[in-house]
Amino acid sequence: MSSPIIQFENFSFQYKSQAEPTLHNINLSIYPGEKVLIAGPSGCGKSTLASCINGLIPFAYPGEQSGSLKISGEEAKDTSIFQLSKTVGTVLQDPDGQFIGLTVAEDIAFVLENACTPQKEMIPRVKAVSDKVGIGHHLDHAPDELSGGQKQRVSMAGVMINDVQVFLFDEPLANLDPATGKQAIELIDQIHRDTQAAIVIIEHRLEDVLWRDVDRIILMRDGKILLDSAPDQLLSTGLLLENGIREPLYLTAMRYAGVNITPEILPQSIRSVRLSEEDRRLVRDWGAQQLPAPAPEPGEALLSAEGIDFTYENGFHALKGVSLRIEKGELLAIVGTNGAGKSTFSKVICGFEKPQKGVLKFKGQDMSSLSIKERADRIGYVMQNPNQMISKSFIFDEVALGLRLRGVAEEEIARRVEETLKICGLYPFRKWPISALSFGQKKRVTIASILVLNPEMLILDEPTAGQDFRHYTEIMEFLRGLSALDITVVMITHDMHLMLEYAKRAVVFSQGQIIADDTSANILTSPDIIRRASLKETSLYDLALMCGAEAPNRFVQHFIDYDREARTHG
């Protein structure tokens, strides 16, 4: 066997600003041509590990390290970030932030420009690489003319052009819709086959990455490597759930049905799994069980939209006669691709944009005369990135802001803020500066700062973006609790797990229209809607088909109900 291209030996690292090491005694070798997935919950050190490989540590983020890390046989700390980048190409998480050039071609050529490559040589190389990733027809496009997936392709091309030996992908799925994410995984696989380079993927969405085979999975926890094994082995253990990573849904369903999961049945992906006739029967029978379904209670309409039509100033027809009824206390998901109209619809509800046609009624009352501020007393809007909302240094002040601006008396403010902080589980932190909070806690601060105004409806844009399974569960259980308090929660999301597990009802936008309004189980088992909304079929659907279940949508619904029971009652 050839020598490893990346080799950690007894490697530890501590950031300058931190009291504890982030990585402990890492031993890991990655060989040329291997494809490795590094998984673990937030804060497990997987991103730090990636920064060590590409040289951001120690060259951009200094700290103390011990042990050795060799990249292509050379001790990394004795080289430079520039030298390392000849071996390791990194595609960062945020496709927007890392798009540096003013156009696609310039961004791809960036590394060549910096190496003083003559223009004559650059042009054909950029063309060749861009064709490989399927972006060759967009060379003159500016970043704002591209979709998230296309921007990611540009980033990949910008790294490929340097003929690197290792591709490092930092959470490549974080900002993509499900269908685009699937294509990204396919493209990574194709790059792997074409270039024979080693591929390292950092991601906690295991099921999505395993859509294409990987050689090994490295499971990390608390700065240590917990397990380094082939996917089939890892998936046969219970280690994933124990460590806060979601296991593929089809495996959870198989476990519920009593199937014994062993490496022999190839659990790596729904396409590889081999089930015996006996196992299929188990799954089929389990799926056919009837749980006492909660009777659907016809709710009272809170918000109703009739024939909303909206065109932006630049002529983009974003909403084409949208009608929708949202009930009191409902937990509703709005899904669809970028540009499908879901964000515009929420802006129209909040009064940020005025529709040219149509009526919006809140509790039967026309809202058209209400200002942004007046609407905000009834409908709260929470942005995706909490850093875009937080404007005070302390939690109390941040949550109190809206009340102070409304001239509420200080005593009343203190009472309401404390009450809200208790609901949000932030009361113990009330005297803390916001900068000391985690991302998930900040998110809750922003929700609290809206909730304190007593809205009857909350609209959240991607409430769980960038969260690992534990934080995801925390936030979502919290939102479910709110809906039990009769607050209507509307979530705009790409996350199909969120849809399946928490939203009873989902509304699908496509090209400015609502193309489906149904239970999440029904939507995620109808191929036509999935294709038009750039969603992805749930693996439960494939499992149901494989086992010959009679009605795949009922099978999925059963899984959701069963899973909810199992999780609430342990």
Binding site: N54, G55, L56, F59, A60, I81, F82, S85, T90, L92, D94, D96, G97, Q98, F99, I100, G101, L102, A105, E106, A109, F110, V111, L112, E113, N114, A115, C116, T117, P118, Q119, M122, I123, V126, P143, D144, G158, V159, N162, K347, C350, F352, I372, K373, R375, A376, G380, Y381, M383, N387, Q388, M389, S391, K392, L401, G402, L405, R406, I450, L453
Partner: protein, 274 residues
């Protein structure tokens, strides 16, 4: 969305020039117009600038916003000059031809009128050229042009980065301000100036924080792709100099030379017909 650089892609000899020669030529032109107060030469420059504008196939409607902005500025500038020194021209030209007495020290003299005419002409001689440069230069080519005329590539590239990220930051500003308005921050004219300033901080804080995040990502992404490794860099979008580019350079220098040489017969920067 407002675009800072409004490149208008049309086929014309001006478009075909490289960014570097256009930049150099524009700077020569501005310098020439700034130095002299020779009304005849300023008229010549104005006529030439308008002619170039015709050649470039850029229409007035394309630059309406900029034009209005300049016009307002022009009026303001003249009003202030008159307000603070209504007989500035008299001091400069050393003679006084009174045309009309308004009130107190405010008079209208031929000398003052000529002085104002010069100020107006300075605008009309330079603004069309600046607009031409903005409308006919590809943003991508801008950074490489700066680098070519001798500015360090790190500084040149930061200009390019600003062009790249300013629209993003503006969009973010817009989103943040809407969300803060929803929480009750009053930004409209209903609130007093002081209150509005205070409200502005509730938008600036998040904007600064998220911009800092962005800067970290960008600088990491640039370093990971070797920005700053070499003493120089090449540019993907760079055009070779052609005959017209050299002609443009020569024109630029001639303009400056004439502007300076006019000092000799005029005996100073001012052409004095009085």
């Amino acid at each position: 969305m407002v675009k800072l650089f409004n490149f208008i892609d049309r086929k014309s000899p001006i478009h075909a020039l490289t960014g570097a020669s256009k930049l150099a030529c524009m700077m020569c032109w501005i310098f020439a117009a700034m130095v002299t107060f020779d009304t005849r030469y300023l008229i010549f420059l104005t006529v030439a600038a308008v002619a170039l504008f015709q050649v470039s196939k850029i229409h007035l409607s394309d630059v309406k916003v900029l034009l209005i902005f300049t016009l307002v500025f022009l009026l303001l500038n003249n009003a202030l000059i008159y307000l603070f020194s209504p007989e500035h021209g008299v001091t400069i030209y050393g003679s006084r031809t009174l045309l009309l007495h308004i009130v107190g020290r405010y008079t209208i003299t031929s000398q003052q009128l000529l002085y104002h005419l010069n100020v107006v002409l300075k605008y009309t001689a330079t603004i069309p050229v600046v607009m031409l440069f903005i409308c006919t230069t590809q943003p991508s080519e801008f950074a490489s042009s700066l680098n070519r005329i001798g500015v360090s590539y790190r500084i040149s590239y930061s200009v390019s980065l600003a062009l790249r990220y300013i629209p993003d930051v503006m969009k973010e500003f817009h989103d943040i301000s809407l969300a803060q308005q929803a929480r009750g921050v009053e930004l409209s004219g209903k609130a007093g100036v002081f209150k509005r300033l205070k409200s502005a901080t509730s938008i600036l804080m998040p904007l600064i924080l998220s911009s800092l995040d962005r800067i970290e990502v960008v600088s990491n992404a640039m370093e990971l792709r070797c920005f700053g490794r070499e003493k120089s860099r090449t540019w993907y979008r760079e055009q070779p100099f052609l005959r017209n580019d050299y002609l443009a350079f020569i024109c630029g220098f001639v303009l400056i030379a004439v502007s300076l040489l006019l000092n000799i017969p005029n005996g100073g920067r001012y052409w004095n017909p009085f």
